[in-house]
Symmetry: C2
Subunit: 161 residues, 2 copies
DNA sequence: GCGCATTCAATGCACAAGCAATTAATGCGA
DNA sequence: TCGCATTAATTGCTTGTGCATTGAATGCGC
């Protein structure tokens, strides 16, 4: 690989780091102060909610801890504690797995479903506003309902009259 | 914004999270066990090294703490402690700023320059191998000198005979 | 039926990161 | 010159994360 390729990869990595820091920072702040949730917490709730909605029978949306950990890029121990936090808040419930009594099934409670539904618009709004900032300025994204991004310049082009 | 747009943004965000987790995980492991450096530590050393090399006079590569913090996406307190760690290892030196005695200049030591130079190939190799994995499999990237990515399938296409 | 390696989740421990409070130095205005 | 707001960096405290370990349960071989 030549120097140009290397520079390109490094630049790409820095851009990735910058975008990750920016978006996850705003997301953390917004989700935390508006809904009392962290980014990882929301992510876990979302996986559980998705599984539930893609499943006909209610009460089927169960997940093993390790399975969730893989999806949200956390270690098994981190997820164990995260689940404990969510359980303390009443957003999820642990259920013994009878087939394999080492395993634990995690599922959303009604309260958990509600909190996730409440937080989703904020989550989407932050992503729309900050993930592709250039699109926002070009008028390709909505005015971010649910948040008021402070970095939107006063004269920036928006959709509408 | 319609559902399709929203889904796209969410998918893009998840892809970003996945790539960030993957690459920074491997990078952390490799840099740590081969050179005793964390990702953030390396990033700071790199900024200092770049500033030095782009500067004619030796000894001019000084940085304010806050300036470094912005570049590596850390809070000033985090960077303050990180600098302290690097200083304890003898990789950087704090220098009082005489013009403004609140400020602190941070600069690389010779040992710091050496460690950064040693670690750079590992850093670049990990990025090349993991940042754009599909390019690696397509033979557009080198066989990642310095690391042996375990997730390269035995039969995957590589450059060479 | 009895070990024994394996697997799943929880816990002890160490550490890095952020927020808030603190200390030190600057510069501006009365 | 004397406050006083402002800025830079450090420190106290809390929290989330990963690694390694532990404890429980499984199933495979004999």
């Amino acid at each position: 690989m030549n120097d140009t390729d290397t520079d390109f990869v490094v630049m790409a990595w820095r851009a990735l780091l910058a975008r990750h820091a920016e978006v996850s920072g705003v997301l953390e702040r917004e989700l935390s102060e508006r809904h009392g949730l962290g980014v990882s917490e929301f992510e876990v709730l979302e996986r559980l909610a998705e599984a539930r909605s893609s499943c006909q029978e209610p009460g089927e949306a169960k997940f093993r801890v390790q399975g969730l950990a893989d999806q949200v890029h956390l270690s098994q121990s981190a997820l164990s504690r995260l689940i404990a936090r969510l359980e303390r808040e009443g957003l999820v419930a642990r259920a013994l797995c009878e087939a394999d009594r080492r395993g634990v099934f995690v599922q959303l409670t009604e309260e958990g479903r509600r909190r996730h539904a409440e937080a989703t618009p904020t989550h989407r709004a932050v992503l729309s506003a900050h993930l592709f900032p250039h699109l926002v300025d070009a008028g390709c994204a909505p005015p971010a309902e649910g948040t008021a991004p402070e970095n939107a310049a006063p004269g920036s082009v928006r959709r509408g009259p």
